[in-house]
Assembly symmetry: C2
Homo-oligomer: 318 residues x 2
């Protein structure tokens, strides 16, 4: 279930228009355009990280889904953005838009999911708002947290020569992972403490799109290898079953909601990152998929050679 | 346009159920149940304040309203809660739920309203999220800010004997004020700097309900005087025109969305507060409407004597 964008104009164009000339102030270290906003509120040695996200019924979840999984997903998406910044979430507030006649058991189930995930990551739920809506249920969550000043990781730091890594396996998230994923907070923290990635993002729009976000922010390009992309079993399964016209590689490159980490480190650190990760997180795959280049654009190398990846992802690729 | 609550069970009961056993952590100074959450993130001398709120089309605004007023209202409601905590907002994030076919000019108009108010109060807009919805447009805003550790004001500090003040004039907000009000940030800051109110809240549910929130949190009661309630011209007008069955006093007591401040100070400070306020904010009325009592409950004194104010506001009062 990819994150849909309002039609009319392209979502990126809409965001570009809305974020033009937004008011800033001296506290803003990173504003619109990164996974999280980063603020200097005067905490010695630390920055404050701030993020919001929303789920809408029948777009991000359906009423057939067990309610705790809906609550889990709502908060996990926000925490995944904290992971991308190598930040530690501290507190969240919940806004709930409900129809006039709502199912109390459903809401309590959603809160069970929220509460369980928040407890696991020591995130306080410190308030919220309930309101009526004549439309689908919506659930908007904002969170604040902290990161050491010298450890915040953003999208914009990728350097030519960097190795590009992704955690986990990609594609086919709609088979279940989009509801049950665990945000990669521990992995991101470990990376920041040990290697300080140059750039990091969580994969929500799909590998190709999100890597493009990093490249755009970093004013760089990348070359990735088709045979190194870690394609998930769900992506292979879907491409055998429901959707044979789309290859598994295309799914891994373009499916949204993987909620894995993509990061870059200096190439000299690549082997140490892989070895350290394997020792620390033996159950989570980590793959080097390519490298950052000074030449702009995103290119992929496969048996036919090197080719440019089109602007609109990989739907026409296989 | 009062803030509607989901039906089924009472909104307060719903909130009580949902906020039961929420995870907290060592950073939480005030969690659910106050105007804002208050966090200790380690800023020397300061606490961090955190709040979210949402507007829904056809509940809090209609498409006939000029879009900048919608944007203004969305942010002003959040800033009004910062005023209630005597806090200074620093940064906000915006979540926008839009239909598949949206009107770009409308959204840009909303952002004009957001941008203008944010600029006036030096609030940075640092990000957000756009998403599709098949239902009415929604606009959820979260903000973070700061307050000196020794100046944060909450709902829970009212003490027997305190004088109870309200700013401005009450009732009939639906005639226009609910869209155009200026959050009482300057007034609240001045109060905190000069008098440190024992308790403060912004009037969103209506004077009687919001005063009850203060009394409940403070484990106290109050006695107010009917002839001292500052009834707005809009409330008088509505009660002459559209709605003759409801008296203007009842409107001032029960209409929502006044976005004025209600606060309590030690009675010995009452005259200095009034004099100082008049000098500082000559255009904004300030009225002492009664006093805090150790006896619980909310009572009102009028020509017929003293009577208890019913649980469900003043609709049956006049």
């Amino acid at each position: 279930m990819a994150n849909p964008s309002p039609k009319g104009i392209d979502e990126l164009e809409l965001i570009a228009r809305l974020t033009r000339d937004l008011p800033a102030n001296a506290s803003v270290i990173a504003g619109p355009g990164d996974d999280c906003a980063v603020l200097d509120l005067g905490v010695p040695g630390h920055l404050v990280v701030f993020k919001t996200d929303a789920l809408v019924q029948d777009i991000h979840f359906t009423m057939e889904i067990e309610p705790p999984r809906v609550g889990h997903k709502a908060l996990a998406r926000v925490l995944s953005d904290f992971a991308a910044a190598a930040a530690t979430p501290v507190a969240a507030v919940i806004t709930l838009g409900l129809p006039t006649r709502y199912d109390l058991a459903w809401i309590e189930g959603v809160y069970t999911g929220l509460r369980t995930l928040a407890t696991r990551w020591e995130v306080a739920i410190v308030g919220g708002e309930t309101t009526c809506t004549a439309g689908p249920v919506f659930l908007s969550i904002a969170a604040v947290g902290r990161v050491e000043r010298n450890k915040v990781v953003r999208r914009c730091g990728a350097r030519p020569g960097d190795a590009v890594f992704v955690s986990g396996e990609l594609g086919g998230s709609i088979e279940g992972r989009h509801l049950d994923f665990e945000p990669r907070l521990a992995e991101a923290r470990w990376l920041a403490d040990n290697f300080l990635p140059h750039a990091m993002i969580d994969l929500s729009d799909g590998l190709a799109s999100d890597l493009r976000h990093v490249l755009g922010s970093s004013r760089a390009g990348a070359e990735i290898r088709a045979d190194s992309i870690p394609v998930s079993r769900a992506a292979r399964h879907r491409c055998r079953g429901d959707d044979p016209a789309r290859g598994p590689l295309a799914a891994a490159l373009s499916d949204g909601e993987d909620y894995e980490l993509l990061f870059t480190v200096a190439s000299g650190n690549a082997v140490r990152v892989l070895d350290g990760w394997k020792a620390q997180f033996p159950a989570v795959r980590l793959t080097c998929i390519g490298r950052i280049t000074s030449e702009p654009g995103l290119r992929i190398r496969d048996r036919q050679g090197l080719r440019e990846v089109g602007e609109h992802g990989y739907r026409h690729f296989t």
